[in-house]
Symmetry: D2
Subunit: 407 residues, 4 copies
């Protein structure tokens, strides 16, 4: 058994298959993948990695198993899945996931191949565990997959608390131990026991507050969009392919961007935190429906057209259209008066949060500060945006970040 | 200048009129008034007092004044009001406030008389401050009263964080420093600056989660109702009057209850934590409207009738009908796109929280465990309650408390 | 099983005999005994009680048992002893322990009688546990008594962290979980395993820093001495005897002091925090040896003589001569290179701390501020103190407290 | 003014010259220099950077200036020095500092050249600040240099608390705010005011406990030694020179080590955490004096000889002989009874800590696990070590780390 000191959960004990997996290059690699990618440019203390997060998820899974009374082979499978659940992440975690998905067809939780091969596959098989089954748990399959990836999974319980600890934003401080103690299975469904509607709501609300403040902070969105664009150019101008990119770590990608001619300008901007600025920042209601349906190539074309008209390099215009907000947690299941109910049906907060998230949705167009006014104007015309009250609304983000200095 | 070490805000510096006020018996008395009264029976660590809370409110007021650039006499007034804002509390804070209000016509924030007399009045006048003006600030009057008592007051900012620290329930952990930094006055109204809708929501949500978990926890409600009833008997059977009761501290009241024959049975129950149990616990929708309008004497009569039918002592039946939930925060003002808006109009969460709070509302009837079944049945008949699915719904409160052992 | 939320250890689970004991008046009474007594006058947030501390000690004992692999009857005994270890405390914990000891011959950990009688005795016997045996564990007897009361006991692990949490003084923040994990029994002795000399030192150092800053803070010492003296008068002038006093709680004692003519002046001083002041405060080296040997009655006589000469009431002069410092932890046992060694022999810090504590020792003479100069002069003469450089050295205690306002 | 959210100090406000400096590549580069280098291999959460630490040091300096009443130009200089104090660090901070010093003659706090050139120099001059003067403050020169680099500097106050927050080891949790409030200048010397001997000791003790547990943890020492050796080979086998190495960041160095043939084996070991193991680990008393005087080249020769005899590659034997422990803090100055005293003269703890640190000193010889026994034996002979009781004593490090799995 190994014992590891964690800044969030204190002492974490690792034994069994998880201890063997810990020493594999596949898991150790996560030490070099930052948990929140470019959020570090907003919250300077947010340098935590997927490695410590994976240890935390393993730990909470282990606690949940103890509470649920799950032991033996089944428990070993879940612990393995918890520790391995993020090995599919590329450099900067979610930041360039869309890009690698487009090219490889794989999201970060598509890990069957990774788990079946190399030393991870070997260790799993040595412990009589089927890599395909573990990969299924990582993807959220089956009764026990809900613990690893679902509305009440230990992944979220760890990252909310951990991101709060490292950013300094307290909103993620949920009562993880209470959640763990109130989990139970009813008819193979993972639910919270009676008396826990507020417990379920608290998880939802924590995410609802962390989202705009941390994960979707405008500076994080801008820098992430810049990183994604630069990585795309890296693929286009070097012999690095998307599969290779996906297996890089943060160091590899940053140095590749710094040392490739086509991306060194971006790398310099990133290193010196001279980020693009918002030329347009507007609400869902002002965006024509057809814009929401554009695919990647169509967006690239629009960006090129706008850049051309504005007489700036093509790389200097980025249009970012986020997906429409979903509210996955609405299907969290809670026991109320003896029956299992969907939180979405039980709690008026769920619908309100969905509406609130739609209200927070913004389309962004980013470019260099000096071109912002011109690009904004031309982009509005090109995209058919009719925005009352200025192209960039809510330009200030309060004091949560060093945003102001760059705008 | 005095410096005081606080477990929540670390070092607190007190100077000027506040330092002089600190040493008065009126303020020192708050050391003996528990902040959360009988919540201590649910959360054993919740033994903090109105004294440390008052220091905290003073400290946050001082921080807010620095951010707002308010200085001189005006600032001294607000600091004095912040330190003094709770001197009107009776023993166990809000727990018996309804009772003393009924008899004295004064709520805890009605402090004009207290501030005008004795050493507090003397000190205020020595510092050229008008006690009536300070009492007005405590009551929330005028532009600056909003800082002391209003939707964005420093009172709430302190108690949420402090109650979280002492109960161990993390939900109250707001970002107080951010709130302070985002306050501003526009047209004499205290508002949050642009970009702070979520900041305002976070304050709301913290309260919405602390409410059912801490402040309105069933065991806290039951014990509070018992304490109120016993205090009423104390007034009825001794020569202690309501004005005197209001100026007691926790020690005085507890010992008076222990040493008065009419209340010693209650005191024993309280000391040994042998609390009443819920005989009825039901939602707003099952409660006839006319019940909600009953006054105190009518309720007492109903209790007496039920006790009589159930053949238990009159003191052993308590009906508790909370006020219908309000959502005072809906009028929090936030700047959005350059205009001041009411949070209730801006944020879909406000209405949802109002609905959620109505959903959490419960009428309770409490009695001894052995009589619970009988009293419940008879009370339902007497009160005209038609409750499907049992008289006590959601009897379990999760693991937040030692509730289960008593029921 | 009951689950209790604690502000220090989060969720605490109680089952078995401990759960049954929890509901006894003997244990519930601890809710009304403050952990640190008059330290509250220095650190306003330090209002925690022996009840929550006892829960914490129970919890850490339970964790230690799991780490040590101790189960069954033996474990139940230790858990019971942990929960009960402080039931012998009188009001204000250690503050008046000397007084009640002088009159009853019992320190707080002499609980055989308490455990054998009443409902505690009944519950223990129902669970086939011998009250005498449990009382022995509380007193530190036998191999397992070391866990409850010894150099490596869970009592200290809880109170250091808890006192830090509630005072705001961080020095007590030890790594309790590491300590628990490194405990083992070798030849029936409780020791720390190899590689833990620093772990043992950290426990020592935490206490060494908390001592002068919290437990022996001058204001805490003065107020404690005043409380002890007032309690002595209470015994002398009423029909309350020492056995009764010992079983009071904080409320009882405070109200008794307030309502007894001979002590009401003290009670007023205490309530209004108008404390005595140091007339003399001097180091061990300036104190004649024979003074250190004076018994209680001889000290009282000296106080009377000084008061008489200074023409102040006898009750207004208090001489406090602390015991010479010991360093109990020097016998903490640690495994070094495979052998058990005494920390005192292994670590140069132990002797240094002993020396440092002697350096911190102070004799104090306390009186009203107005009489301080006169009493100091007369007391120095009467006590034969020859103090270079003034009667009160180091009069300032830094910023840890509101001391200054009273001096 | 920019406001930045920090996980340790909450909101940090930056204005004036510091705000301008914040945006320079020289300061932004610190985002990519880890604060504790390879300590991350022991404490997985320790991924904080020199950037956030520099912000923290700036913040504490700003607080200290406010307490000391220093304003204007002098204050701007000190704030600039605080923010810039670590810009001279190479990749992995102190880990390869010895190496770059040997080749460049510069330690990390030798920053005159760096501050005089480029945009930092420009900004300083624009603000009428002399780069040479600021560099002097960074080096600890003059009265105000003591605040930036000295026994009571804000550097240490930040790193102890920050390292505790990120490793999870609580020992560094000092009371920074108290320290700041107790600083004063007497005769141009920075001292702690009366009543603060324990405050000074607490700083000392925090470092004394963090040292062996974190900074000098055996796994950190081994991995640091490996990194230093690999970096040395990088210089020897590529055209990267020491000046260039010193200006790399962590990404550059890691990728360079991975992509250089002579160092890729090390890089693999590092990435997969397959570290060397202790072949010898022995106390000062067993080490001949002349070994302590060997210079770098002589050590390399010894390593080569041992490797040759053991028939392992030369790169696989590392001898690490730390400097003899010093106790810089012994000259901390504290006011006692009105005079300035050296803490070393006042506190018996200082000498004891010095002795304790000598007791913790270890010479280490590291190699691959499979060769450890053989290399240990041969190295002992070659180095003339006569070690009773085995070559590796105290092989276990308790549970603070994942050490065990690698040995």
């Amino acid at each position: 058994m190994a014992t590891i000191k964690d800044s969030v959960h204190d002492h974490i004990e690792i034994s069994g298959v998880a201890e063997a997996l810990l020493d594999t290059p596949t898991v150790q690699r996560l030490r070099h993948i930052s948990q929140l990618g470019t959020v570090q440019l907003v919250y300077p203390s947010a340098n935590h990695t997927r490695f410590e997060h994976s240890l935390g998820v393993y730990h909470l899974a282990d606690r949940a198993l103890a509470e649920l009374g799950i032991e033996g082979r089944e428990a070993e499978r879940i612990r393995a899945a918890a520790l391995l659940h993020d090995v599919g992440h590329g450099p900067f975690s979610h930041n360039i996931e869309e890009l690698t998905y487009r090219k490889t067809g794989k999201y970060h939780d598509d890990v069957e191949e990774l788990l079946a091969s190399g030393d991870v596959g070997e260790i799993l098989r040595e412990h009589d565990l089927d890599p395909t089954h573990i990969a299924g748990l990582v993807a959220g399959d089956g009764q026990f997959g809900q613990l690893v990836s679902g509305e009440l999974d230990v992944d979220r319980m760890d990252y909310l608390v951990r991101d709060a600890h490292h950013t300094g934003v307290p909103y993620g401080t949920i009562d993880a131990e209470r959640l763990l103690r109130e989990l139970t299975f009813v008819d193979n469904e993972l639910v919270l026991t009676e008396g826990n509607v507020q417990t379920a709501e608290s998880l939802l609300l924590a995410r609802a507050l962390m989202n705009p403040t941390v994960y979707m902070h405008p500076v994080a969105r801008i820098s992430k969009a810049m990183l994604r664009r630069a990585s795309e150019r890296l693929l286009a101008t070097t012999d690095i392919d998307a599969h290779e990119l996906r297996r890089m770590d943060d160091h590899d990608l940053l140095v590749a961007l710094r040392t490739t001619q086509a991306t060194e300008a971006f790398a310099e901007r990133y290193d010196e935190r001279r980020l693009f600025k918002r030329a347009i920042w507007t609400e869902l209601q002002h965006v024509p429906d057809d814009l929401l349906d554009l695919d990647h190539d169509e967006l690239r074309e629009l960006e090129a057209t706008i850049a051309d008209r504005a007489d700036v390099p093509e790389t200097n215009v980025i249009i970012e259209i986020p997906d429409e907000p979903s509210m996955r947690e609405s299907s969290t299941r809670v026991v109320v008066n003896g029956e299992i109910r969907n939180l979405g049906a039980q709690s008026p907060l769920v619908n309100a949060l969905r509406t609130a998230q739609r209200g927070q949705w913004r389309l962004g167009v980013y470019t260099t500060p000096s071109a912002a006014e011109r690009v904004g104007r031309l982009a509005a015309a090109e995209l058919g945006l009719d925005i009352p009250g200025g192209l960039v609304t809510e330009s200030r983000q309060g004091i949560h970040a060093t945003l102001d200095e760059f705008e």
